[in-house]
């Protein structure tokens, strides 16, 4: 048998070495985007794009999904690159959290995005998890998504009909749902070149210090002019609605101000007003709504510190 070549055969109740196998699941690791798209679109059963596996493997273990085909995208070069082009950054959807954390340049440019990435799971999980997976798993509580929305990131997507760009905020449409069409894969994320005096931050609330899913998450990205007045802002919330939210009212509360007490109060009010959370095992409606405002203020303060330094 040759290494790396997948031998396909009958699926059910095959006997090998005296042991019966009942697996229906196949594994492919294509090396090009076209091959990956081809595999996904020609699969009649359930196909899953597989990068870090930190959501897919859990869902298989808990019997929530039964994929027929796993398409491992980690051998596709474009999905694994981190590239700076003239101050603007692009990183592949299958770059791991650890790889991003180890990238000094990206960390310096987007500390708020990295606040989110740093909070995904544990060190072990971050050794595998990817922003692409964090996004496409489409949990409203995903930690990397609010700061990426705040950063105005754009996803580059490939599918059977070719390439297209989708703003980060438009990808998750509901819990476990995305706007991606059948056969589409998020390839990379593009973050814009930032004006000087810009800073971003992400904070989340969890009952423990680590390892929890966010009860509330807030990403703030802002720019100030040399005298400290906010000239641009984006505020995004996670875990307080069916999908991560870009809250334009919250941004408006900051723009034109120096983030004084009145502006901060308006920020918190706008953040809380944007929430339409649920009561679940992780938090109540009342709690999430209240804490969304608190985190928005705290994240804005950090972003401001970073913008000024």
């Amino acid at each position: 048998m040759l290494p790396g070549v997948i031998y396909k055969g009958r699926q059910q109740s095959e006997h090998v070495n005296g042991e019966a196998t009942v697996t229906d699941m196949r594994y492919e690791a294509p090396e090009t985007l076209d091959a990956a798209v081809g595999l996904l679109s020609s699969e009649s059963g359930v196909a899953k794009v597989f990068a870090g596996g930190t959501d897919v493997m859990v869902q298989i273990h808990l019997d929530m999904i039964e994929p027929d085909l796993i398409v491992d995208v980690k051998n596709i070069a474009e999905m694994r690159e981190v590239v700076e082009e003239d101050g603007a950054w692009r990183f592949g959807a299958a770059v791991t959290g650890k790889e991003l954390m180890d990238h000094a340049g990206f960390n310096a440019a987007w500390p708020g995005v990295m606040d989110g990435v740093r909070l995904i799971g544990s060190v072990q999980v971050r050794g595998r998890a990817t922003v692409g997976g964090n996004l496409c798993n489409a949990s409203p509580a995903a930690d990397s998504v609010p700061p990426m929305i705040a950063a105005d990131a754009v996803a580059s997507v490939i599918g059977p009909d070719g390439r297209r760009e989708i703003p980060m905020a438009d990808i998750v449409t509901g819990p476990g749902q995305t706007s991606l069409k059948d056969g589409e894969i998020v390839v990379s994320f593009q973050l814009p070149k930032r004006p000087p005096h810009s800073g971003d931050a992400y904070l989340r609330f969890t009952p423990r210090t680590e390892m929890d899913i966010a009860v509330v998450g807030c990403g703030v990205n802002l720019t100030v002019d040399p005298d400290g007045t906010c000239t641009a802002a984006r505020v995004a919330l996670g875990a307080v609605a069916a999908r991560p939210l870009l809250v334009e009212d919250a941004a408006r509360a900051l723009i034109g101000t120096k983030l004084d007490d009145d502006a901060m109060a308006a920020l918190a009010a706008a953040a809380s007003a944007a929430c339409s959370p649920i009561d679940d095992k992780r938090g109540t409606i009342e709690y999430r709504t209240e804490v969304a405002g608190v985190l928005a203020q705290r994240a804005a303060s950090i972003a401001l510190e970073r913008a000024k330094s």
Binding site: T21, M57, I70, S122, V123, Q124, V125, G127, R128
Partner: protein, 158 residues
């Protein structure tokens, strides 16, 4: 058959295996290779008892597919000691009574080793946050942190 050929290096030894895509790396280690030092505590990446390193990166083996080990280099608890000579972390865990029932110990040791390779002089807070992915129910973490601090000192100073 749906099984795939996997050629992988574990603790420096080469293994050629046939793996089903439904097997996790943890399943392969424990059930196929009889390397039971790596433990299953939850199967969902929440407890860290299954920690190994893969190409030098600390991961939960319950979240890695067995077939992904092809062409990779895996390090488990069984590779930590050098023959009869225990790794300083292993020695310090014993010296400091940083283990009681011991079920979480392999995962903690693999994770601590990965920490000290990346950061040879961690603060108490850095150790605690790095090890947040490894649950322990017996020790309250106190003596674990002391053991890691002591091992780090020895590995730096010695």
């Amino acid at each position: 058959m749906a099984k795939q050929y996997v050629n992988t290096t574990i603790n420096g030894d080469t293994h050629e295996l046939l793996c089903d895509p439904t097997q996790t790396l943890l399943d392969v280690l424990r059930d196929q290779l009889d390397m039971t030092g790596t433990k299953e505590g939850c199967g969902t990446g929440d407890c860290g008892a299954c920690s190994v390193t893969m190409d030098g990166v600390l991961v939960c083996s319950c979240l890695v597919m067995g077939v992904e080990a092809n062409g990779k280099s895996i390090e488990t608890i069984e590779g930590m000691a050098d023959g009869d000579e225990l790794h300083p972390l292993q020695r310090k865990f014993i010296d400091h009574v940083a283990l009681q029932c011991g079920i979480c110990t392999p995962g903690l040791l693999v994770a601590s080793k990965a920490l000290l390779e990346e950061n040879p002089d961690p603060t108490e807070e850095e150790i605690r946050y790095w090890l947040a992915g490894n649950l322990c129910r017996c020790t309250g973490y106190h003596k674990v942190i002391e053991a890691v601090q002591d091992a780090a000192r020895e590995m730096r100073g010695a």
